[in-house]
Amino acid sequence: MSFNPHTLPPPPPTRIVIAMWSVALKMLLGDKAKYFGLVFGVTFASLLMGQQVSVFISLMTRTAGLIFDLTEADIWVMDQRVRYIDEAEPIRDIDLSVVRSIQGVEWAVPFYKGVATVRQANGLSQVVVLVGVDDISLVGLATDTILGKATVITQPQTAMMDKNGYKFMWPNTPFEIGKELEINDNRLVINAICNAAPTLTTYPTLYVSYSTVTQLFPQSRNKLPFIVVKVAKSESVQDVANRIQKETGLQALSRIEFAWRSINYFATRTGIPINFGITVFLGVLIGAAITAQTFYLFIVENLKQFAAMKAFGFTNAQLFQLVAFQALFVGVIGYSLGMGLTALFIRSVANVPAFRGLTLHWQVVAGAATMITLIILLSILVSLLKVFRADPAMVFRG
């Protein structure tokens, strides 16, 4: 006979792999209900991960939106107790002069960020975010105006409002300048409308000059919450920050440090991450359960056929290729659909104020891919054990 165990044919070549993939695909697509069930499971998990994590990142980024946007400044100086940008503790005005005198500081300007209650012409009150920028340099002022000029805020009793804040306060009203507001019995005219970085809250943002801020709140002695600093080119940001801390006793953080401090505050001190985390966890769990269970059932229902294949000469390695290819195929299709739907969602809400700044970051895409890979591996692990343990003799048992 031609068989000689000592001259066995070489290990399965690439063409065996391709042949197995053809069979795998036909087996998978032949059972439409299970195929769609598997794809749905992976799609569902991908969509929930992509969408929820993106919304979470967007929200967290909003907490530091103003800091990220103020790219001209390298260092933020503030009270030692400040943990995030909305926690404004006033510092002494004299500290501005001290900071300006420190070696390595190219310039330092005041920056105000706080909340105020405005009264509209119809008598209704509304809380707004008030941003006060240096009168001369206008550092921190949003420049992307859609009506009027940003520099108009240097005029007395003049403000610029962000576009979404305007829509929020005067819905279904066309953009127009000249609307009047009142803060602490002081008249304020909106003479410019701009696009501004989204903030965590949906409060309108009012941009005014720092001198306007001092006029709006004349009764308090210290009003200055932040000093923003530009470091000279020859100096390191960290060195200058250290000097400022030493000289003033204030907290001096680099722009990125302060942004992350704000984000971390919201991430650790609020229920936002836990709620999003639970949703993502449930999404992964349900997606994994659907995928793993459907895949397992798919294998179990075909177990006798797999045993028959083993009987007439398929190796465990070949069956591994078959099952792994099916899982990979389902994973790629489901993941692509999930990420596609996430992108579609983000695109469809691009003009919704509540979702401004929502972006699908590559880290989310990569993270979701990793999780889906784990789900797929989990699914095939259990199924493959069943296939590997399938006794070819079982096909003779009726």
């Binding site: 165990p5 003799a393 096909v395 003779f396």
Partner: protein, 227 residues
């Protein structure tokens, strides 16, 4: 050369504290060019015998020489390769893959050897034509009758031109007429002097097709008759 030679073969199954002797010191020869039939009541050890003869199960004692080679000297991987090259199987329940067409199912042993699916399918179609299944090559198993499915299984067992065809109750799921037709095909296959057909059956209607009838009971061989 004999197709299969079993010498003093025993097979004991162990389940917890209980052991069952499925084959008890069986010595048997399956010749080439003949249709051999193993008959006997359920649980007499027929299925265990064909599993041992094809290298799917390892005997507890005794020696199995298939196509001149002692199977005990082969590793598990070598046994798989051996089966792929030299043995074709026909099962009672057909065990066709439900998502594949008749031709693709019949092509499976070639795919196991690395033949591309479309090439293997072409070879399988030729064989299915010979078996009168030309019109059904592209149908799925659920679109075929039991007899047609068994013909596909026969084509699958022959497509890689094996030396031995092992059939486990090939007519048990078929009506009398269809079963008779299937046996006619197997009878024809067994006429090839370079091929052996070994059938396990307890269907008395098909005993007359055998060249060589082996009767078993309680794991032992009772009689061995050649026609």
């Amino acid at each position: 050369m004999n197709a299969i030679q079993l010498t003093n073969v025993s097979k004991q199954y162990q389940s917890g504290d209980q052991s069952t002797l499925a084959l008890d010191n069986v010595t048997l020869t399956i010749p080439m060019g003949k249709l051999s039939m193993l008959v006997g009541p359920s649980g007499c050890g027929k299925t265990t015998l064909i599993s041992v003869a094809s290298g799917i199960l390892t005997p507890t004692s005794g020696e199995v020489v298939t196509l001149g080679y002692p199977l005990s000297t082969l590793s598990d991987t070598q046994k798989v390769t051996f089966r792929r090259q030299h043995i074709g199987f026909i099962f009672q329940q057909f065990n066709l893959l439900s998502s594949l067409t008749a031709a693709e199912n019949a092509a499976m042993p070639l795919v196991a050897s690395g033949v591309p699916l479309h090439k293997a399918t072409q070879q399988a179609i030729t064989l299915l034509n010979d078996l009168g299944m030309g019109a059904h090559c592209h149908k799925l198993p659920r679109q075929l009758s039991g007899g047609q499915q068994q013909r596909v299984a026969i084509a699958r067992s022959l497509v890689h031109e094996p030396d031995i065809i092992i059939c486990d109750e090939p007519t048990a799921s078929l009506d009398g007429k269809t079963g008779h037709d299937v046996m006619e095909i197997l009878r024809h296959i067994a006429n090839d002097p370079k091929r052996a057909v070994l059938i396990v059956s307890h269907d008395t209607r098909v005993f007359s097709f055998a060249d060589h009838l082996v009767e078993m009971a309680d794991g032992q061989m009772l009689t061995s008759t050649s026609n």
